[in-house]
Symmetry: C2
Subunit: 203 residues, 2 copies
């Protein structure tokens, strides 16, 4: 069953909640989850129906079971390997964001074209020359790139990545990439996200 994007997003938020519960809190109600996220509890129950074993019982959902069901369904243990392309501020911050690992995203290496950055190690990840992507992608079997180069280099970098065997680009630049059809782009639109927030709340 295909899970709608919004549901995936909410399920991962539920997981954050469970992750922060103490060992003593074995059960949780849909009302409690809903209240923490300021959404409707019928929504929570509907989302949980997408899971195979929700651990529902008389006193609420069994936290451990529900947590595991989300991990299974969304593939937290599938260990997807990725490169970060662009070892600037944002790229380095993402390289240091250790929570990614818990959700199955492993950053194996970083790439940049700045000689001063090449050879440095950021949170255990070596920064390589951009021209090495093709070789390393093939050798390590990596086809996901997280694109964090400055806006003005975004298009050329994306084209280069497409030619270097990258099939999935998680694009953090405020730039629309024009890549061949077999390369999937996911625009991480921070600005759009901010605008959704301000427009919906009359900030």
């Amino acid at each position: 069953m295909n899970i709608p994007e919004k549901v995936i997003n909410r399920l991962s938020l539920y997981h954050f909640i469970f992750d922060n519960l103490s060992e003593n809190e074995q059960y949780i109600s849909s009302t409690k989850i809903a209240q923490l996220l300021n959404i409707d509890d019928s929504q929570v129950r509907k989302d949980i129906k997408y899971l195979d074993n929700s651990g529902k019982c008389r006193v609420g959902y069994e936290v451990k079971k529900l947590k595991f069901a989300i991990e299974e369904k969304l593939g937290f243990k599938q260990n997807r390997d990725a490169f970060i392309v662009g070892a600037g501020n944002l790229g380095s911050a993402l390289a240091k964001y250790d929570s990614f690992k818990d959700y199955g995203l492993n950053i194996l290496a970083m790439f940049d074209n700045d000689p001063k950055k090449i050879g440095t190690i950021i949170n255990g990840k070596e920064v390589f020359d951009l021209t090495k992507v093709s070789n390393l992608a093939l050798r390590l079997g990596v086809d996901i790139a997280i694109l964090t180069v400055p806006k003005e280099y975004a298009k050329s970098a994306a084209n280069y990545l497409a030619g270097a065997g990258i099939k999935y680009i998680w694009n953090f630049t405020p730039c629309i990439l024009d890549v061949p059809k077999d390369v999937k782009v996911w625009n991480e639109n921070l600005i759009g996200s901010f605008l959704q927030f301000t427009n919906n709340n009359e900030v």
Copy 2:
């Protein structure tokens, strides 16, 4: 008219496209926009209907007019002032992300509780002691905080912000905040975003 979140997100992506066009490209078709984003062109036309003056003419949309209409509708010129709370890797990267300014988000100051960070300047933004939020929020009329503290401090920082007059929290931590009802939280869920991508594309 209230604009659905997905539409806001796409309109901001259209704006990215226009921003990167050369001066010579005065007109653009919905087909071209759709192709760049790998979506349906009927979707693009529907989204543009939310705008007051789309600049539609015989040869396509007038780029300048359409761009301006998006800016008006989504409030790019409204200049919302915000604080960054947590001057670590991600906080610093966001402080250096100059594109925010173009879309109406001004970071006025940063806050941390690490004495080594307090008093430093990151991209022109001074880092203040966290206890100064209340005072500066009142003096500068700021009610938006971008939360980028480590996960384990997220809850206490959010509670502190709620007490210090912050009304909107853009939450970048993988942690669900439990704040009073009058504080709106917007979860910037990078992990959920990654999972949407991988689950929908069978990565």
